[in-house]
């Protein structure tokens, strides 16, 4: 069965995403890395669902649809917030977000 390849691709995407969240200093790039993780999740869910055939299969399909829809809402809010800091600071670098410390 092909499931191993799908899961491996999912794991690779997940690792790239986590690396991006940790290493990138640009807010939009971090948002894109989070999207990569969510794609890995959907790939996993669908690979598992296709592998199940029948019992419990619909759960995975429904879950993937919910992930898509809610991720879109989340990115909408995220881009709004990034726009907000761009308007006030003329920069979306996360390094410059350090007014509060301690």
């Amino acid at each position: 069965m092909l499931i191993n390849q799908f899961l491996l691709l999912g794991a690779v995407l997940f690792c790239i995403g986590v690396y991006g969240v940790i290493a990138r200093k640009n807010a939009v790039m971090v948002l894109m890395s989070i999207e990569l993780i969510l794609n890995a999740v959907n790939l996993n869910l669908l690979a598992f669902a296709m592998n199940m055939n029948g019992e419990g299969s619909a759960d995975g399909h429904v879950f993937a649809l919910y992930v898509l829809a809610i991720a879109a809402a989340e990115v909408g809010v995220g881009l709004g917030l990034v726009l907000l800091i761009y308007r006030n600071k003329r920069s979306i670098s996360l390094d410059e977000l350090s007014e509060m410390k301690g």
């Binding site: 999740v41 759960d59 879950f63 800091i85 006030n88």
Partner: protein, 507 residues
């Protein structure tokens, strides 16, 4: 695949929906739409009406909870057991709705005077409360995820509510990026759990992980990811870095909401995952919880000692309180399982009333002092004796001095971990005891400032406390006293028979 799905749909029978059990959620959803529509049609000077409607909606949603509790029949299980209304969810729903009501009371003046968008503010606040209310009943990975996002996304926007203030922007962005990352981690863990259990229902997952006996690496990975994700939400160290900045930058009523509502939402999710989805995988999550609880208590306390800003100090204090709520989780899978669940419920109730009260006093006092520094609290005894007494009450309760609520909550947390009789239980009890003593340091520091120091600018004019904040102070003050003097009230609610019977404790 499509043909299979269509084939399955042909045998589709409409599930019976128990509208009484869903009534709180339905009232809240309708209320959100009403606030949104009313906001469109009223003039700027009448926008305060949206706050009133939001308060009425929250109180109205409590009514079906009371009737459900009075009828007191068996657990109501909806949608194939994926959405369950039992005693645990009823008491938690009531708590979240009252938290929402108190936050509305705290927000009214601040939001109106600041010239912020009022209608939208209350829509988002109600949406956040709706997410928390859903979380208490969610017994399926999909509904846990939807509720989790529902309680997170509105609060990202609320944290950045002061649009022109770069501190508030920073608070919102930091909270959003870490929150979105946490929910992505949680989803990856959930997708692995689904693959292992062939179902998204929590009880099915619990059964699938139990049967095999020995845990596979995939299961362990999934559990670690999920616990870490909820660790972000409850700001457990080392996932706490967003909390102090977000709490300080956000408008203070929003901070009160985040530190109580959203944190309790995370704990409710953690309860349903730990007690229902993987109760028997305790080899994995017990050491994890031990480390999280230890670090959270200790780091929160030590950092709180050196803060000079009152809201930032309350942020670290709420982190360390979170560590105490994590304490009973360490013994969740042992013979003290039932006590630990009761303790978590009781601690959440006490923490919610006490912490909201402390924020209410801070909001009332900063209306006069216009400063977030702890040194600005000097002379409070002379110009606001009532507020000083209340603040002392709340801090004494947070520190665990009898006879207030916090004392009872701490005692039952220690009782739970000692009852378990495990090595982890004794170790965490010792660490908790040391931390309780450290906590007296910073709570005492504020009390000294209020009681002994003169006002820094010599201004002893009275504080004008608006009636809505007086109401909030009344509710939280009475709650803190009542929970301490009559702890049997919450212990009765904490009697979670239904959750025990649904197999929540892994029996």
């Amino acid at each position: 695949m499509l043909s299979w799905l269509l084939g399955a749909a042909s045998g589709f029978a409409r599930p019976k929906i128990d509208y009484h059990a869903l009534a709180p959620e339905i009232i809240l959803s309708v209320g959100i739409c009403v606030v949104l529509i009313v906001d469109l049609f009223i003039s700027e000077s009448k926008k305060w009406l949206t706050a009133t409607i939001a308060g009425v909606v929250l109180i109205a949603s409590v009514i079906p909870i009371v009737t459900l509790a009075v009828i007191g029949d068996n657990t109501r299980s909806l949608f194939d057991g994926r959405y369950v209304v039992d005693e645990f969810s009823l008491i938690m729903k009531a708590m979240f709705l009252i938290i929402g009501y108190v936050v509305v009371l705290l927000s009214t003046n601040e939001i109106e005077e600041g010239g912020y968008y009022q209608g939208e503010y209350y829509v988002l606040l109600l949406s956040g409360v709706l997410g928390m209310v859903m979380m208490t009943s969610a017994r399926d990975l999909v509904s846990v995820f939807v509720a989790f996002e529902f309680l997170s996304i509105p609060t990202y926007m609320l944290a950045a509510w002061r649009k022109r203030d770069t501190k508030s922007n920073e608070a919102g962005v930091k909270y959003f990026l870490l929150g979105a990352f946490a929910s992505a981690l949680m989803l990856y863990g959930m997708s692995l759990l689904y693959g292992v259990a062939h179902s998204t229902k929590l009880s099915d997952i619990g059964a699938a992980i139990t049967v095999k006996g020995k845990l596979s690496g995939v299961e362990a990975l999934a559990i670690v990811f999920i616990v870490a994700a909820f660790g972000f939400k409850v700001s457990a160290v080392p996932f706490h870095s967003w909390a102090p900045d977000t709490y300080q930058g956000a408008p203070t009523p929003v901070t009160a909401f985040l530190s109580v509502g959203s944190k309790a939402g995370g704990f409710v999710a953690l309860v349903s995952m730990v007690y229902l989805a993987f109760p028997l995988a305790k080899d994995i999550w017990q050491p994890l919880m031990f480390v999280l609880a230890t670090l959270t208590m200790t780091v929160g306390n030590v950092m709180a000692l050196k803060q000079t800003n009152i809201v930032r100090m309350l942020a670290y204090s709420s982190i360390s309180q979170g560590g105490f709520i994590l304490m009973p989780f360490v013994v969740a899978g042992t013979k003290a399982s039932e006590t630990s669940l009761k303790t978590i419920v009781a601690y959440l109730l006490v923490y919610a009333t006490t912490n909201l009260g402390a924020f209410a006093v801070v909001i009332a006092v900063t209306r006069k002092t216009r400063s977030g520094e702890i040194s600005a609290l000097g002379g409070m005894l002379t110009y606001a004796p009532g507020l000083t007494a209340l603040m002392t009450l709340f801090f004494a309760s947070l520190a665990g001095i009898p006879p207030f609520g916090g004392w009872f909550a701490k005692v039952s947390a220690f009782r739970a971990v000692l009852e378990a009789g495990t090595g982890y239980g004794y170790a965490i009890a010792v660490i908790g005891a040391v931390n309780t003593v450290i906590a007296f340091g910073y709570y005492g520091n504020i009390m000294r400032e209020m009681w002994m120091k003169p006002a820094p600018d010599g201004d002893n004019s009275r504080v004008e406390v608006p009636p809505s904040i007086i109401a909030a102070l009344g509710i939280t003050g009475a709650g803190t006293l009542l929970l301490g003097i009559l702890p049997h009230l919450v212990l009765r609610f904490g009697d979670l028979n239904d959750l025990v019977h649904t197999g929540a404790l892994g029996k």
